[in-house]
Symmetry: C2
Subunit: 343 residues, 2 copies
Amino acid sequence: MASDDLENASRPLTLRDVSEASGVSEMTVSRVLRNRGDVSAATREKVLEAARALGYVPNKIAGALASQRVNLVAVIVPSLQNLVFPEVLAGISEVLDQTHFQPVYGVTNYKPEREEKVLYEMLSWRPSGVIIAGLEHSDASRAMLKSAGIPIVEIMDTDGEPIDSVVGISHRRAGREMAQAIVKQGYRKIGFLGTKMPLDHRARKRFEGFTQALAKEGIEIHDREFYEGGSALLKGREMTETILKRSPDLEFLYYSNDMIAAGGLLYCLDNDIDVPGRVGLAGFNGVELLEGLPVKLATMDACRAEIGREAARIIARRASGEEGGGEKVVLTPTIDLGATLKR
Amino acid sequence: MASDDLENASRPLTLRDVSEASGVSEMTVSRVLRNRGDVSAATREKVLEAARALGYVPNKIAGALASQRVNLVAVIVPSLQNLVFPEVLAGISEVLDQTHFQPVYGVTNYKPEREEKVLYEMLSWRPSGVIIAGLEHSDASRAMLKSAGIPIVEIMDTDGEPIDSVVGISHRRAGREMAQAIVKQGYRKIGFLGTKMPLDHRARKRFEGFTQALAKEGIEIHDREFYEGGSALLKGREMTETILKRSPDLEFLYYSNDMIAAGGLLYCLDNDIDVPGRVGLAGFNGVELLEGLPVKLATMDACRAEIGREAARIIARRASGEEGGGEKVVLTPTIDLGATLKR
DNA sequence: CTGAAAGCGCTAACAC
DNA sequence: GTGTTAGCGCTTTCAG
């Protein structure tokens, strides 16, 4: 008893401990614990009993080294503080939970050099696959991904050259479609509010698609405003005030995400600015938060959970040995005009 | 060249490959790659050059097995969709990034049986420490944590019996203090709105502390309303409408989190209910979101980032071999009366 | 400063 | 159904 406790504290238990406690060979213990091969019900019970009694937790490090198999899927996202990514992760777990694969999350804070480091660390554990946000990576990161010899799925964005598979939406197209919807409603003097974009390629692409579609209609962005860091809701408020004071003739404001758009909406409501009469508003993402706002904000669903699920499905298939590679899944975001984008 | 590429694709590179490419023994290559021991500048260069050229990524599985050392810290939280936890995780990385430790995140979805599974999976990779949210765990989970032989830090909550170390705030006390502040402002008919609590022990403890402090003043909760799932902002709206219609004489509403409180606030503003004159409001957490609201909501800071940092510091110290164990860090949340809790 | 030998805890492959 | 043997890719230890 006492000696058991001491041993417990000093040294992690091994298969051998279970083997000795149960009087069954290590190999058979291993088989029981992994449900592999045929083991008689009697010995099976003996082993399970011993393992439970000792509180044995298998050492996956040794197991992985011996079997050359790791059930980990590396999932790399820029941030967890932007609700979008937790939603994608939820989609991923939803699917992987049905398999023997396990997601492991890494966060890059939107920094390529951090992405490189996180990727390196994760790859050094030899995961069965990688799901990584975005198509833009440093050369070193791309090289690592290419030579890893495991399925890679880049997610969120489909505008660019994938390394292997890709699941997402076209942000250029999302920007274009929003521009078309806005113009169709008769708005002409249009402003853009968003993050400083070197960081955020998807926001940049939406902006590019947006301006491009406007150009086709002979319209130029009337004014723009960018922010960095801080509370998005508050920034949305402040930027809206700034831009409307600077360009009082603006008829429409397109925000690069829903949170700042919500801030803008609250600003307008507070200041009795008629929405969408005096000024129309639209955001991007379709975050759940919007449902509680006083006025339904126009937005575009980014298919976050579905992106996660689909990426996980691809990984699960390929990592289980199915042939494949280079799949491209382009989801179509649906536009929601809400009550802030119609005249 | 061609054969390099083929090999690359078929089999992950090993130390031996680098050794052969550089003409240096495996052992010395290993030393160079880990910056251990003295190696001459010349051979060091040769090795690094070869490793880079090949694109060698070390196999941590083998390394961990051989060295019996793993630089992973398991971090287990109930959810990533509740902004609170990403903020804690950010605090954790902030500190661990300065060390050689790496956080690995697991999510339980508030389910004890999932916690058990996640914990088991993570422990089987033999991490150097565990940071886990809450003090309530299944017997099996507690047993695993106790016998893991590594530092354990339970976070967020200090009301209960920790397994090893604990960093957090007292939610009972948080509830008590909010009750006292409310009563002090002269409010008497007080309602509570929150999550269905079997899931959320911390919300329950706040509620207990809250009612207990009110009882001391001879006050009983006037009405209450609970929700489950869905958009918190919207739920806040709906519950506020429900409770105010049912109990029109309510003078104050205490919400178990800021998101539903914000929904309540927006509901009141929309319906020209004077806040805090007609009815006062308070939430819990001090989420960044609040800064963008039209009226500053009363809340209490839960010290999220600091909890993460402190937990990480404890793990880093202990996992680096320093003696210790059983530390208890109780942070003190500061109450912010905002503009919704004063008459 | 560098190398050779042994072994981390487990599982694949094969014998019995 | 069960046991034995070898070895996964690295690091520890010890010898030079």
